[in-house]
Amino acid sequence: MMADGAGKMFGEDRLTRQIESHGEAELQEIAALEEKLQSCVGVETGPFLAWDRVNRPMIRHWCEAMGDQNPAYSDPAVAAKIGAPQGTVIAPPTMMQAWTMTGFSGQHPPGSDTREQNPAMACFAEHGYLAVVATNCEQEYMQPVFEGDSLSGHATIEAVSGRKTTALGVGYFVTQLTEYRNQRDEIVGTMRFRILNYRPALPV
């Protein structure tokens, strides 16, 4: 991996193309995987609920780790100036994705869709593509998220790339769009997330 330069690890624009040679059985397996992956495109899953309402302790932990001292995230008087209801703070917009993450348990809370949020993951696991890295994230914020809000997400796989040889290993880029809503079913933001599911080239 390091031979390609560690700086060229992620991202489709940084691919190092190599020729793969496959036997017949392998080609069939690849075709089977790719068929399953394409069947995941366009499938909407959700809602995936948040374990916790938007709350000040979790915001504080986030800000502490990121070194973010923006008072809009800690002081209701400052948050009120940018529209927060009385007595509440604003959540860092970039924290949007964190609220509906499964966390330590790996489980979404009761009431969530019981299907996998990303149905392609199971296909990849079945075929031995066990590693994942995120390469792109586009977030758009339609309205602020306030303390007390209850967020949920709906996700759709928009695209699965062709088979790619990257410095990390052979795999596929998966683009998923997630729409986040609050307790009033208003869209607070969207996220287009791109990951690479791959088979590691070689352990280092």
């Binding site: 991202g11 973010d68 923006n70 860092p92 917009p93 964190a98 977030q139 352990p203």
Partner: protein
């Protein structure tokens, strides 16, 4: 905290450079604060088995730093509208990330500013981002 005056912002303005000391504590602490328990963000052996020389920063944390970098500059009147990032060289412990940003356009109709933000480590660009922030 800093506070920029929208009327004085000009295309080409540069944000003050910010250097982030990347430690194992930061990578794991921020991953947990973002509720991301993927083993590559806290378990070095697991990271190596998956082809990475060390644990590395998760994308949610990178997002957090890009957002923070911009609102450190605007002050609390800055409301983020979009944060769009792509990742390059991973952030590993011991390799600081240096962030820079520049105003690329300005929209008077909604008092928003578009910025290009980069975060570099010694390997290369960790992150290249486009951010739109509105001054309320």
């Amino acid at each position: 905290m800093n506070s920029v005056d929208f009327s004085r912002i000009e295309v080409g303005d540069r944000l003050p450079e910010l250097s982030i000391n990347i430690t194992a504590k930061l990578i794991t602490g921020a991953a947990i604060a973002s509720r991301d328990y993927q083993n590559v963000h806290h378990d070095q052996d697991a990271a190596r088995a998956l082809g990475s020389p060390n644990i590395f920063m998760n994308i949610l944390t990178t997002n957090g730093f890009v957002g923070r970098y911009v609102t450190d500059w605007t002050g609390p009147s800055g409301v983020l509208k979009t944060v769009s990032i792509r990742l390059g060289s991973p952030n590993y412990p011991g390799n600081p990330m240096v962030m820079n940003g520049e105003v690329v356009s300005k929209d008077d109709t909604d008092r928003s500013v578009k910025l290009k933000v980069t975060g570099k480590n010694t390997i290369g660009d960790h992150v290249i981002g486009d951010v739109v922030v509105r001054l309320v």
